[in-house]
Symmetry: D2
Subunit: 367 residues, 4 copies
């Protein structure tokens, strides 16, 4: 009801505020016998972590994940895996400037209206710091998906402001701080961010994420379609305002004769659908995309009101990303992994003994 | 698990195949004492119904909703409301052509892979006919939202193929078969559809939907954000491939200094966020958008395979819409209503006694 | 939230009032490919049906179950199975006597307090008639359990008032109107009921139910233990006030040295635990028991109040069972089946690829 | 699915193994603005804690609960409250004796069958230690129930082996290590336990728990009845094998003319129903009872098998309670509180604006 748990078969319950003692999650429903340790989680956490390049916020988060249950002698036991990340960067600070003021386009006003009380320190529960636990839980899901189902997931920066990027080398996305899969254009990205920082402004971004190796049959009609759950998962990430599957909004101007993914004995001839048909995976590569808004935490002062309804101004002075999208690829990967594993287990529960009798079909473009 | 139930506080469980005996739903959690009858449901069902204009499929669906429980002496009792719509248009027909063939870009292949068995008559469970029950359930949700919470919801056609439409007159959207809120351009739409029909092709569309009167505080961090649930709800509608909240993908190229919705004692100065901040309603008008793909059911033959993996061709001869988006506005309204009422009741359960102490703020642009 | 849905993997959503147009349910998550038809449901419905012997109420319920979705060409398709039972016995009647009066120990008072409105005709939603849909859904669950998992379920009358009955012949329980597994004592039961009817009074009963063939491993720690879910399922049946697993309340006076079920290479030496240890099935026969209160609908007048708070009296004149427990064995079987199948599918989803490596152990006493 | 989360509106997600790094829980859906701190939790934890008297196990559990989220400046914020209890008593130990042996009537065998892997240290997830987190979560629920709804909950020992105890002084139950509400018989209990310990054996117990001040209207028909959820909650506690509401199994031999709770303008004349009618609270005191089996961890050797299926013997040498029921009253209180608050919030969500129009009725016996 209060919305801090994801999933039905593989569930993630998230907790924690940005500047409270700790954040973390409880992962329930993980199959037993999977090798998991803290180093595995740390690898993904480090990819998301602030302070790793000069293009993202310099806040030093320890982000050290501690597994306190559900793993015994190096493997999962099938019981809940609790992960705790202490908030080490809790410097004593003066919050008097933001305590009674609503930062524009933040959750401050909505939270206070909802709960009547608000942890005003650094965004509290609505802080982007919360996404660290998604990445930790996602690391577990990705490991299970890889080991048991042969699924591989990768996200990358598809657009930052006006700069549209191709997916030329998916592996390269993990080798630069922009998660850029078109390495030749890294200089262009650096220049843009540097100019933005000089302006004291911020910019939006588009992240694409793909999953290869998903077998046909995952996803549930009618409401819990695989694409619907992916849409929810990505839209639940801080700052996301739009989600696409396959060709996304491009379909509006496309004709049916172009869009339909024709089939041949050697496989699908195209993948406009993004690997999902009727809400169920088709066996093709799953392709999703999300749009992240520019952060409102910028040094250019903005008009706002305080808790008494009086006009005032807000100017962010702390550590913030000029483009929050730059750190979002690992979060998109994590959420996609959590959705996919949840559906894999749900599908297996109901349909484990199904034999479709269909012959395997061939590869597919863009797979 | 099998995904045919929506919601936590206000739930809708959907059932039925396109050409089985009946479709319907069970609505659970509806507050008691609300005046509901079959005429209310029929009004919305008729708006969605095929055969109502020459621009949509001519299949004659009875779409007569029968309420068989949960309503007594004209008002809801708080117990489950079951709605049944008999499938009257079940003419005996020859299905031999589609029985063993996968229609391109339909759910046929994915369903057979998932379940090993498939109701091949007219799409079965994956048919757009299933959306009728969403509309019926949505009519109940809309009534509760209007009576108890003062919320009004309206959808309209924002784009069809290359034709982008303004929202000049929201009320007008209910007076033409295109759900077009820019009535001066109806002729343009008619010409486009007629040409499309001559080509035997189909086209995509974009539907916008707004909800006015939503108070601040609805929506749950972190996963069950209001925008995340709206994204799932809209993406769960047949043929939808993209969802946006507020400015949507437009944020990618927007700077933070433009995008942030500044506040004044008289209210928000803009609504780029689409009425949702941090996953929680802000009190502004909620704005969402969805992209529907062109139907693959067209008369132009397409390549496909049969259940033995052999190459064949598919050519749709039956009744089909050249633009399925034209009937989608009532479905978007229904899903938005279901999401909002679910969150209204969830919020009330946890926070009924909250007093934020905030002074009311003024109106907002675009509301 | 409103509590009319059972289960997570195999779900049953129930609807309907005693004297409304229809009752029914939606069964979601049923594995595909199972042979199901209306005759299967009818067999179990007829076992529960009133009017089948002179020892139970003479109300003639049609109880004809109609399957309107989810079954195609004789087998389940994996999509929701909706079952509708029309209320044919809706004779026009004078409800003025009960409309504004709370029948003692019925749900009348609590419902009106909860909802502010109440369907007063024959108990409405709280009527025992609602259990018919449980039996219909249970028939589906039993079929799946038998076909796919080799599980057999049987309930029987263990006690009626002071008469305690042995389980001498489980099969015999299906051949007499008392569901009595000690046939030699049928005359005793008949005499007791006849005397009770002359007194215009009613009596309680205890029903035992067993499930044989359940493999080890079903059930989830910590909250959703198999025994916990069985307890909830049985306690959710009208008139039930107590539930036991295995030795039940007998454990209070038992020593650990007697109670523990010792093991040998040939299997367990006893089954005090009722086939469940640590909330998980042990592979032994599952044994549960439930106590049903005497119905309060008796001809002996009772004191009560009306909706204005004024003192009045209530005397039931209609058709009622002197011992509602006599019809409860099929309901207990149905609920146990629904619980077991739900857990079977949940277990399979998470643990389908587990190999415990344990050698099979032998049979067990009392199985 | 994996069953470690309780509730829908007020949820508790439990994690942790007996001898892993920590146990704990995430409480989601707690209303905001409630004063909560670690001392509150500690009070209840200390009541459950082992080692507090010579009649219970001498294991020294730190049981120090740390709240790491959801509480800010002393009050709940409406976001998830995570509670962590480090396992300080993790002495290095030789587990070789139990590693490959199934303790009779423990969860060892069932867990290994289910998961294929097992944390064998002290019972792991199936240890009674897990109930500490229930008590911590229950302390939060009790505080909300008391502050916002005026509900008070108390459990006590109703029977230990052959000794049946009256409820003469409910307050006294908190002042002795037996949770005995008939203080005059404390000596009898002490003698019995001492004799039991000399025999190296264990015994069962019955715990009663009552909730006063629950208003009418909590609980949901049909499946999620208040009594059904209480039954599940109590049966989910380690060692519980039977649950009763109100008169429980006593109803089997009771006539309807005795059992029905007649009403008068001054209130109910009796409370055989235990405060719940039709699954919904009636406004009377809620009365429930549970039976706990004797622990199987006794020094008298018992026959069992090892993981290769070979016969062996088991003899518990460590610290164990001769009557686990002696520490169960706080756990029963906690689970009852969690169930009640969950239903309170669910009821409020759906029915917050209901006015039944009924005049208040008077007190009740045994309230």
């Amino acid at each position: 009801m209060a919305g801090n748990t994801w999933g039905q078969a593989f569930t993630v319950t998230s907790f924690g505020e940005s500047h409270g003692p700790a954040i973390g999650c409880v992962v329930d429903g993980c199959p037993p016998g999977i090798a998991i340790d803290e180093a595995l989680l740390q690898t993904d956490l480090d990819r998301r972590k602030p302070g790793t390049s000069r293009y993202v916020t310099q806040r030093r988060e320890g982000d050290e994940a501690r597994i306190v249950s559900g793993v015994f002698e190096g493997v999962t036991t099938g019981t809940p895996i609790a992960v705790i990340i202490e908030n080490t960067d809790q410097r004593s600070r003066d919050y008097s400037k933001i305590k009674d003021v609503f930062r524009p386009n933040h959750a401050d006003y909505a939270y206070l209206q909802k709960y009547g009380v608000r942890d005003y320190r650094g965004g509290g529960r609505s802080s982007a710091r919360e996404t660290a636990v998604r990445v930790a839980a996602g690391a577990i899901a990705r490991r299970v998906l890889a080991e048991r189902f042969g699924v591989r997931i990768q996200g990358y920066l598809a657009q930052m402001g006006p700069i549209r990027l191709a997916c030329e080398d998916l592996d390269a996305a993990n080798t630069n701080p922009f998660f850029c899969a078109e390495p030749a254009r890294l200089g262009e990205l650096e220049d843009y961010i540097n100019a933005l920082r000089r302006d004291g402004d911020s910019i939006g971004a588009r992240i694409d994420v793909v999953a290869a190796g998903v077998p046909p049959g995952w996803g549930e009609p009618v409401f819990d379609r695989l694409d619907a759950d992916i849409a929810k998962a990505l839209m639940s990430i801080n700052a996301v305002k739009g989600v696409e599957i396959g060709d996304g909004f491009g379909v509006v101007e496309t004709r049916g004769s172009e869009h339909r993914d024709e089939m041949a004995p050697t496989g699908f001839r195209s993948n406009h659908s993004g690997g999902i048909q009727g809400g169920i995976s088709s066996g093709q590569t799953i392709r999703a995309s999300m749009a992240l808004k520019p952060t409102s935490s910028i040094v250019i002062p903005g008009d706002t009101i305080d808790t008494r309804g009086q006009a005032t101004q807000m100017r962010t002075t702390g550590r913030h990303d000029p483009c929050v999208g730059l750190r979002a690829a690992p979060i998109a990967e994590a959420m996609l992994a959590i959705v996919l594993l949840d559906h894999a287990l749900r599908h297996r529960g109901q349909n484990a003994d199904v034999d479709s009798g269909l012959p395997p079909i061939g590869g597919e473009p863009g797979g």
